[in-house]
């Protein structure tokens, strides 16, 4: 225990008097150790991570606690002294490299500034060359002269890591370094981080919302909820035998392509430290709560090096991996509901033609769930838009129950518009902020089914109950709802048309895992109870594995493989599919990065620009 490089004790960070963001967080880090910090939005994980550098975002202040790095009490230092330590002793890798890198400076210059600040007198060029090689980036002057926008997302993140590691710090804090990157890029970046860590003996705090990603790099994991660490222990122990009901719920909510199973959501949304009145913050969402939970639970020892903040941790059930996730119905026997034949589509972006769909053909039977899977730029969203009549294809036929559909929604008959409904990716812009929930949900019922008057009113209540929202939200505006609630309203709006096919375009990618699981459960239930077909657009193989029947793998507008989900995930035939499958983060024990590196290429050919246009389209 003498080799502790970072000790944080009892950190309390407040946004104002009596409004804690982080409350009593303690962490220790030994030399060469990786501590994973996991939490959903609002759990205080980023504030905690920044506190390790003695940095607090504006409006936040440290009201209690200390942080010690390599024996130096960083919290007691003046800011000027802290700056000398940042980058030299402890460094930070921010989320979203596209924003973190200065767009008007060449990347070589950004590295040089770091080096000349902390290692004056050293051969800066030499240091930069070594650092670039360590993060697997070219170190030629031509590459260093590039601007951040000339790099792909993965390369940008490697540059931020290179800047953080250039001066060989003892500790690095990585804040969601792979969030927003495609899985293949993420996998190779994680492998690189893991290798760097073992080569240099760097100690790391790895912050992420994704437990599967953290599990693949961390030695120990701390789970945060509402500004507190609620469970901490060795990775294996946390994943295999979680003791806190929240951790258990989180694990049950994570879809896994390697061991497909039903994902189980948690009720409610993540509590915030601010709103919390004492006692266990998770109690409101907890199945095993008792009267005792209104008192603060102690951080008890629950095994070797394993601590948990719950009175009833002994009662937490183990996570059961029931393999029977996919209800393998024999949908192929039925006539296809939707049939897409030789679809060609694209769009212009910065004067260039981007091919989003090149001769794509597939079908969806009624009641079936077909998943379109691909990375950013694969064309999956454009195909969904073509089906919904929002994007005119260049050629190809889209048939609904044997009748070809017009390219534009406005030209399709009312009944065709009713039968296909779409739910969008971003719940924050899919509802009109000026319309109440009732306006939003009743409009399709009135327009597409001709329901009006008191019948419409009761229909809205029925629909809200179907998506498990209290009917009292009907008169609220979207701004008063959380992301998960908004997405439920968007689903209710789609159901209002009484559709036969629901197009779900990345509907959970903006939501927390526990909320994602609850929304996907809802979709699965609706499929069962209403018998509607679902076209699921996703980048997440795990999610697809847990809900879809069949799978279409897309890469840059081309179908690489299609067929039964289980068969493809178990034995992918296509090279690209194989890459995707092996890159998907997983909690299963045969983690690909546990030993050695997977054979992956970074997908550098796919430039960041394409990913951006996909988002804009």
């Amino acid at each position: 225990m003498t080799d502790r490089v970072l000790v944080a004790r009892d950190l309390c960070i407040e946004a104002g008097p009596r409004s804690p963001i982080v409350d009593g967080v303690s962490m220790e880090l030994a030399r060469g150790e990786v501590l994973g910090v996991v939490g959903e939005s609002g759990s205080g994980k980023t504030s905690t991570a920044l506190a390790m550098l003695g940095f607090f975002r504006s409006g936040l202040s440290l009201t209690r606690g200390t942080v010690e790095i390599s024996g130096q009490l960083i919290t007691a230092m003046p800011e000027s002294k802290r700056r000398l330590l940042r980058g030299r002793v402890i460094s930070y890798v921010p989320q979203e490299p596209g924003v973190a890198l200065n767009p008007s400076l060449r990347i070589g210059e950004q590295l040089r500034r770091m080096v000349s600040r902390h290692l004056p007198g050293s051969d800066a060029e030499q240091v930069i060359r070594e650092t670039m090689e360590r993060v697997d980036l070219p170190s030629q002057p031509a590459f260093l002269r590039r601007f951040p926008h000339q790099l792909s997302g993965g390369q940008q993140q490697r540059v931020t890591i290179a800047i953080a590691l250039a001066c060989r710090p003892t500790v690095a804090v990585l804040d969601e370094p792979t969030t927003g990157l495609d899985v293949v890029v993420q996998a190779s970046l994680l492998a690189g981080i893991k290798r760097l860590q073992s080569e240099t003996g760097l100690a790391m705090v790895y912050v992420s919302h994704d437990l599967a990603v953290v599990a693949s790099v961390a030695d120990r994991i701390a789970v945060m909820y509402a500004g507190r660490v609620i469970e901490e222990g060795p990775t294996k122990s946390i994943i295999d035998a979680p003791r806190h009901p929240y951790t258990r719920g989180l694990i049950a909510a994570i879809p896994d392509s390697r061991s497909p199973r039903n994902i189980v959501g948690m009720p409610g949304v993540a509590a915030r430290a601010l709103a919390w009145q004492g006692g266990c913050a998770f109690a409101l969402r907890c199945e095993q709560r008792t009267d005792k939970c209104t008192v603060d639970p102690p951080f008890e020892n629950a095994g070797r090096l394993h601590h948990v903040r719950c009175f009833h941790w002994q009662r937490t059930r183990p996570v059961t991996h029931d393999g029977a996730a996919v209800a393998d119905g024999d949908h192929d026997a039925r006539a296809p509901l939707l049939e897409v034949t030789e679809l060609n589509a694209g769009y212009a972006s910065r004067g260039e033609r981007v091919v989003a769909s090149a001769g794509v053909s597939f079908f969806v039977s009624s009641g079936e769930c077909l998943a379109l899977v691909g990375e950013s730029g694969s064309g999956k969203t454009t195909i969904a838009r073509c089906i919904s009549g929002l994007h005119a294809p260049d050629s190809g036929v889209i048939q609904l129950a044997g009748t070809p559909l017009a390219p534009r929604a406005a030209d399709r008959p009312r009944d065709a518009r009713r039968r296909i409904q779409i739910v969008f990716q971003n719940p924050y812009d899919s509802l009109n902020p000026r319309h109440t929930v009732r306006d939003a949900v009743s409009r399709p019922a009135r327009l597409l089914r001709g329901i009006a008057g008191p019948q419409l009113r009761s229909q809205v209540d029925v629909l809200l109950e179907q998506v498990r929202l209290p009917t009292t939200v009907a008169d609220r505006y979207p701004a008063e709802l959380s992301g998960g609630e908004r997405q439920r309203v968007a689903i209710a709006r789609a159901l209002a048309a009484d559709p036969e096919l629901l197009v779900c375009d990345e509907i959970t990618s903006a939501l927390d895992v526990s909320v994602q699981a609850a929304v996907m459960e809802l979709i699965a239930d609706l499929r069962r109870s209403l018998g509607i077909g679902v076209l699921l657009i996703s980048h997440d193989l795990g999610l697809v594995a847990s809900v879809a029947d069949r799978l279409v793998v897309l890469q840059r507008g081309h179908v690489r493989e299609q067929g039964n989900v289980r068969e493809i995930l178990a034995s992918p035939r296509d090279e690209y599919t194989r890459q995707l499958v092996s890159a998907a983060p997983t909690l299963a024990s045969d983690r690909p990065w546990a030993n050695g590196e997977p054979e992956l290429n970074d997908g550098e050919g796919q430039d960041g620009a394409r990913a951006d246009t996909e988002l804009l389209s």
């Binding site: 939005s41 779409i422 902020p433 327009l447 597409l448």
Partner: protein, 297 residues
């Protein structure tokens, strides 16, 4: 239903401009008080006028007396009566020009922002050309061409508003046009009219109402300028701007005939500006709160 509907949509649009919030600030209160004073004079003034505004009741440019509290003008008409009767025209013309300008700008902005075809682009270029004209020159040319009349004046002032409103609305529409809720409306086959009115317009109006006060001020000044130049309202109509123009030669002998209407126009524009500032302030605060909400996960 239609009335209730209109009231409801009205409430939605103006919801962020909470009158209470406007009144809470000092500038807002001062602006509303000043504006109310001038409006009261303009609207109810004619009922209190001691003489007919057009009757010759005394010697030209006589100084204030018990009989004529503000003296008489260049023809010997009672200045007080003319001041009390002369506010309505400025306010009516300026307001209708502003409203007309908003309607035109909003329509063009929404259409060109949503439908980015060739026609939309052509329309925007025409608007750009209009923007290049000095407004007063444009109004003078219009008045000489169409003959001086209040209608031509209103239309002319409205046209000077259209380009800038259209540009703001177009930019706001471009931002909103590809939001999920608009696409959802397109996918269920809504008509363009519905999409523009119900989905897009409520979300762009905030941006243009922020400068309502400034635009009203601008209209008042333009209307007054054109009237002053004699190309709008015609004598013997009582009008504040016209009064300044008519009586300016007697400024040294009988300053009240010029100073009082001038002061009232000034007060009106100041009041508009103060209220506009207060509204913008309240909008800014609420807009900030909205983005905080919007980004909350």
């Amino acid at each position: 239903m239609s009335v209730a509907g209109a009231v409801r949509s009205g409430r939605r649009i103006v919801a962020p401009v909470r009158s209470a919030r406007v009144l809470r600030s000092g500038t807002g209160r001062a602006g509303v008080a000043l504006g109310a004073l001038v409006l009261l004079i303009a609207v109810f003034g004619p009922f209190f006028a001691p003489h007919s505004p057009t009757a010759l009741v005394g010697a030209p440019f006589s100084a204030p007396s018990a009989h004529f509290p503000l003296g008489t003008d260049f023809l010997g008409r009672d200045v007080l009566s003319r001041v009390l009767c002369g506010g309505r025209t400025v306010i009516e013309l300026a307001m209708s020009a502003t409203v007309l300008g908003y309607l035109g700008g909003l329509t063009i902005g929404l259409l060109t922002g949503y439908n980015r075809g060739l026609a939309g682009n052509a329309l925007m270029r025409i608007v750009d050309v209009l923007l290049a004209f000095p407004p007063i020159l444009f109004l003078l040319v219009l008045a000489t061409g169409a003959g001086p009349s209040p209608e031509a004046l209103v239309i002319g002032v409205a046209i000077t508003h259209v380009p800038s409103i259209a540009r703001i609305v177009r930019a706001a529409t471009l931002q909103v046009a590809h939001r999920g809720y608009v696409e959802a409306a397109v996918a269920r086959g809504e008509r363009t009219r519905y999409i523009l009115r119900r989905e897009i317009a409520p979300n762009v109006l905030q941006a243009i109402f922020a400068d309502l006060g400034v635009r009203l001020t601008w209209s008042i000044l333009l209307v007054a300028s054109v009237n002053f130049l004699g190309l709008g309202l015609q004598p013997p109509q009582a009008d504040w701007a016209l009064m300044i123009s008519e009586n300016r030669e007697g400024l040294a002998i009988q300053p009240w005939a010029v100073v009082v209407p001038g002061l009232l126009i000034a007060l009106l524009t100041i009041a508009c500006n103060l209220v506009a500032d207060a509204i913008a302030e309240s909008l800014g605060v609420s807009a900030q709160a909205a983005t905080l909400d919007g980004t909350r996960l």
